[in-house]
Subunit: 111 residues, 2 copies
């Protein structure tokens, strides 16, 4: 597998850091997560996302967006809102969201 991180875009852009505590194996979670991934890619100004979860640990997902408008478009998506409601009802013990305006970014790649 080749891992392709979201690159350092030209600021300003936005990071949406979503951390969550979620028991493994919740019914319906995987299908919904895949559907949301397909949907968010259609949002103008969506720059990419990354997700990681240490087994038994906190899940961290970072969404990258060009501007506030693109974040709002995603938040107003009705299927996304329905998934969020189901997440609060069924999947997540807790989650936290931090929306930040990126002021600088940089990258390293081994030659």
């Amino acid at each position: 597998m080749t891992i392709k991180p979201v690159p350092a875009h030209e600021p300003p852009y936005y990071t949406v850091v979503f951390t969550s505590v979620r028991p493994d194996g919740a019914e319906g979670y995987g299908e919904t997560a895949q559907r949301m991934e397909d949907l968010v890619k259609e949002v103008p100004g969506f720059l990419g996302y990354e997700s990681a979860k240490t087994p038994g640990g906190l899940a961290i997902t970072v969404g990258y967006f060009r501007d506030e408008h693109s974040i709002a478009t995603w938040q107003q998506n009705l299927q996304h809102q329905a998934a969020q409601r189901r997440g609060r009802a069924e999947w997540y013990d807790s989650y936290t969201v931090h929306v930040g305006k990126v002021e600088r970014s940089y990258a390293f790649e081994r030659q």
Copy 2:
């Protein structure tokens, strides 16, 4: 294990999103990571950090800081700089850093 996510602080504060591609089992990585964790906790304005790595996947670490000054203090730490140099030389295939000023944050916890 009780997982304690970094809470939604009162904005403004900063998120430093560090994503990296790192082969597992690199010599010396674990000890240095633990030493950096101990050191960063001494930085005034450091609010916490979270890290997750899906096995075989991208690692995501998010550091939370009160202001630019606290980020600069950490970046100027000589042991941190030495660890960064070793990371580029030995541990990381690639990494990306996105520094964002948090404009809003919110949290959910199951009752």
